[in-house]
Every structure is written in C-alpha cells, then in structure tokens.
Amino acid sequence: MKSDIYNWFFLILKRDLLIAFRRSSTYITPLIFFLIVVSFFPLALSPDQDFLRSLAPGVIWIAALLSSLLAVETIFSEDFKDGTLDEFFVTNEPSFVLVFAKVLCHWLITGLPILLASAISSIILYLPASSFLPMICSLILGTFFMSLLGAMGAALSLGRSAILSSIIVLPFSIPTLLMGTAVVSSAINNQDYSGFLLIMGAMLAIGIPGLCLLTVEAILLNYE
C-alpha cells in the first residue's frame, strides 16, 4: 500500500513534467517575467549601485512572488477542463497526494527557473556574494510556500480569471515576503538570519499538510 502511494505520486509527477516540457512556455515565462520586473528598476529609477543594492532584496522577492503566482494559476484548470481531474478523484488513491504531486511538479518547473533568474538578478542589482546563499535558501522555502498557496487559490478560482486567484493569494503571501526580505537584508548587513529561515520553514511545514487538504476541498467544490 505504501509503495503504491509512491508509484501513484510518481505517475502524476511524470505525467505533469512531461506535459510541461512539451510546452516550453511553462518554464520560460516565469523566468522572463522575473527578469523584466527586476530590470525595470534600474531603468526607471536610478542605476546607482548603492541605491540598487539597498533595493535588491525587496525587488527580488517581489518579482519572485509575482512570477510564481502568475505561473501557478493554471495548475488545475487544464486537468479540470479535459476531465482528467475527475479521473484522479474517482480512483481510491488519497487526493492530497495528487495535490502535493502537482504542487511539487509546479515548483520544479517554475520555482527552479525563478531561482536561476534571481541568481542573475543578484548580479544586476549588485548584491554582495555573501548574501547569495541565504537568498537562495529563503527563495526555495518561499517559492514552495507560494506554490502551495497559489494552488489553493487556483483551486478556489478554477475556470475564473488569473487576477482573481492572485488577489486571493497575495494577501496571504505577505508574511513570506516580509520574512524573505528580512533574510536577505540581514545577510547583507551581516546579521543573523537563521531565525527568519526557521519561521519560513515552520510555515512550510504547517502549510504542506494544511493547504494540501484545503486544496482538495476546494477542488471538490467545483464538482458540486
């Protein structure tokens, strides 16, 4: 039974990754979007190094949140439209495994490009090298949490506009934003940032089961 759930999990993961790779826009769009948002600041405001460096943590985090959010919005809609979501719910396998697999897959195809983009941005925005590692760590935790939250928003607004799911999710992403920027700016100022990372980890630990279950509920709603 246990290995069954693993196989089930990997079946979904494989299927979704395959579909995502066949459509390159899934992983390229978040990356481009991120870079455009970031490059806008030097263009529109000021190319001054110190100014940009002070802006960098916030800008990178805002770009990360927005691009992860924009990408998550279609996570269930296609499966819902073409009837495959029905099929997953008709089997006797636990549905939150399905949700978790889809969230993980989504993170792999959008979170990783975002990490890449943020690495590039940290150079454009003159971030010191010492803050690189904490930035990546916080982004990993943060974007995964955003994928979870976004999945819930997407499930609640299945079939509706992207902007609706963003306003559902954005207010809830504020703690992540605050923690994330706190990690990076503490790292820049050589302060201790482990506390913030811990909190982000804790949020993720609670979020994974909690939000997955609520997402299952939200998906089932669309069947009524």
């Binding site: 819930m152 609640l156 607004s157 509706r160 506009s161 609706l164 306003i167 559902i168 954005l170 207010p171 809830f172 504020i174 703690p175 605050l178 923690m179 706190a182 700016s185 909190i199 949020m203 909690g210 939000l211 609520l214 509920e217 939200a218 709603l221 669309n222 009524e224």
Partner: protein, 257 residues
C-alpha cells in the same frame, strides 16, 4: 464530550434550517433593532457630546468612538466567519455558509470605516493620511482579505458552492492574521523605531473610556442586527422558489391587511 458535540451539531443544524431561522429571527429582529439602536445612540451621544475634550488633540479625538469600535469589529467578524467556515466545511450546514457571506460585506465595511476614520484622524495628528506602521498595515491587509473573500464569492455563479469556497478562504485567513500581525511588527522594528505606536499612547481617562466601551458594545449589536437582516435577505433570495418563502410572504401580506 461527544454528546455535547452532537448537541451543538444538531442544534446548529436545526436552528439553522432556513424556515426555522426565518421564524425565530422575525420575532427577534425588532428587539435586536431596538436594543442595538439604543445602545449605539447612548454610546455615540455620550462619547461625542458628554465626554471631556482631549487636552492635546482637542475635539478631533472624538473620532475614536467610531474608529476603535469599527477596528475591533473588523477583526472579530473575520473570527466569526472562520468559525462559521469551520461549521460549513465540516458539517455542511447551509445557513452557516450564508452567514459567512452576509458577514463578509459587513466586516469589510467596518474595516474600511476603521481605515478611513484612522486616515482622517491621522491627518491632523500625524500630519499625513497614511503611515506604514505595523497596525495600520495589518488592518490594510485585513481589508484585502475581506475583499478577496467577497471577490471570490461574487465570481462563483453557484452560491452554495461560493459559500463553501469562502469558508475555506476565511479559515486560511484566520490562520494567517496572527502571523501577519507578528511579522509586520518585526518588520517595522527592523528598519526604524516606531514613531507612532498606538499602544504606548497615554492611558485614557475613565470618562473617555467608558463611553468607548458602550460604543463597542453598540457596534457589536449593530453588527448582529445587520447580519440578521443580510442573512434574511440572502435566504429569501436563495430560496425564492421554495414554497415556505412564498407562504411567509403570503402570511405577511395577510397580516398587513
């Protein structure tokens, strides 16, 4: 324990059946209206006309009698909605879903009132409409959460579905509110010392404080009143085709004659 649980469950289910609710609420409504209006007016009149003038701010401070109660209500209503949300998700009591929907717009309005009165108050006292202070910011986010809930409800055509959707959202909302409050606190102190912490304001004189308490109570009663009204409208709208609704109105018409 489980008996109490079952009792609560069966009680909520029973009292929550729309026709029954309609019956007892139409009896309760006039009383609720009278009491809430009396308490509310006492609070207002006492606060605005009979409480002492503040030695520093003058009469502007009287806006407190609207500001604070509505700020408090804004938060309590989300809590109330989360409780109803739990009942809706777990037991699928239909009426608790309608309750959330009816409460959401009231909660949003109170929060908006708190934001607006706060801004109006801020202009003379702080010299600006808005400050990115921890408490203000979290109130703003609270308002966003309300609008998310309302927006989600309006976007779904099937209203019972929409009720369950916003129950989920208000459950998440209540979980995230303390985190936001905490993190916003940290965030502010991170960058610069807080200039306008509300908690360190000079403790209020009792004759300013007492009318405030009455006002808060009055606001709660007004909320109960508005909620009942909203809920009744919602029920009639949703069940407009059911026989008991038409009967209710037929009876009403007979009584009117």
């Amino acid at each position: 324990m489980s008996r109490i649980w079952n009792f609560i469950k069966s009680w909520t289910v029973e009292m929550g059946s729309p026709p029954l609710f309609f019956q007892w609420s139409s009896k309760a409504l006039p009383w609720l209206a009278i009491i809430s209006i009396i308490v509310f007016s006492i609070g207002m009149v006492w606060g605005i006309f009979y409480s002492p003038t503040d030695y520093k701010q003058g009469d502007v401070y009287r806006i407190i009698y609207i500001h604070v109660p509505s700020a408090i209500l804004g938060q309590s209503i989300l809590m109330f909605m989360a409780i109803c949300g739990f009942i809706t998700v777990v037991w699928r009591v239909k009426i608790s879903g309608m309750l959330i929907k009816s409460a959401a717009s009231i909660g949003a309005s109170f929060t908006l009132i708190a934001l607006i009165t706060g801004s109006i108050w801020g202009k003379p006292t702080w010299g600006t409409w808005w400050v990115w202070d921890a408490r203000l910011t979290s109130t703003l986010i609270l308002f966003f959460i309300y609008t998310a809930i309302i927006g989600l409800h309006s976007s779904l055509d099937d209203k019972t579905k929409a009720d369950r959707a916003i129950s989920i959202l208000s459950l998440v909302g209540i979980a995230i509110i303390p985190i936001i409050k905490k993190s916003v606190d940290w965030w502010y102190t991170l960058h610069q010392p807080s200039t306008f912490t509300l908690s360190s304001a000079p403790s209020m004189a009792p004759d300013m404080y007492q009318p405030l308490l009455v006002c808060v109570l009055g606001f709660y009663l007004i909320f109960a009143f508005l909620l009942t009204m909203n809920l009744r409208a919602e029920i009639v709208f949703r069940e407009k085709n059911k026989t008991w609704v038409s009967k209710q109105y037929l009876n009403r018409q007979k009584n009117d004659k």
